[in-house]
Symmetry: C2
Subunit: 87 residues, 2 copies
């Protein structure tokens, strides 16, 4: 499945969240990662974020699409962090 | 259709982009907006962003889903800017 993660965490946790997500997903811009993952890896991302984040202060949104065909991506301006594996 | 807009623009254009997108979409967190829009409004968003942005420097990604059923959203931590109209 395809997942977009956008997060907003306290400054002292930004580096940790970034480092964690970089293991599994592709950075696309400030606080936004994307990638195609299996179910088990998606669960590992949920668990990892939950452990790193302060759940009373930080936020992460996961947008998950089971079928890549139903989500279309468009870019306006400069293409930055995307991989060649485009949905 | 449902759209997520994530943008990364030079500091001097952040306010303009924010103000523009707030007219049509819901702010969810830093540089991320979401909303359900008709085709004509989506086109207005594309045109507006293109006019405001420096296309050689700034970036905006639009993730567009024609069917709300194929995109699932999960929140980890604090729910911030979402409306009650959840996909």
């Amino acid at each position: 499945m395809y997942v977009i993660v956008v997060y907003d965490v306290a400054e002292e946790r930004v580096g940790k969240v970034n480092k964690f997500l970089k293991q599994y997903l592709t950075w696309i811009q400030n606080s936004v990662f994307e990638g195609t993952v299996h179910k088990a890896l998606l669960e590992a991302i949920r668990v990892g974020l939950t452990n790193i984040m302060d759940l009373n202060y930080d936020t992460a949104y996961l947008f998950i699409s089971s079928s890549p065909n139903c989500l279309q991506r468009e870019t306006i301006g400069v293409e930055k962090g995307f991989t060649s594996r485009i949905i």
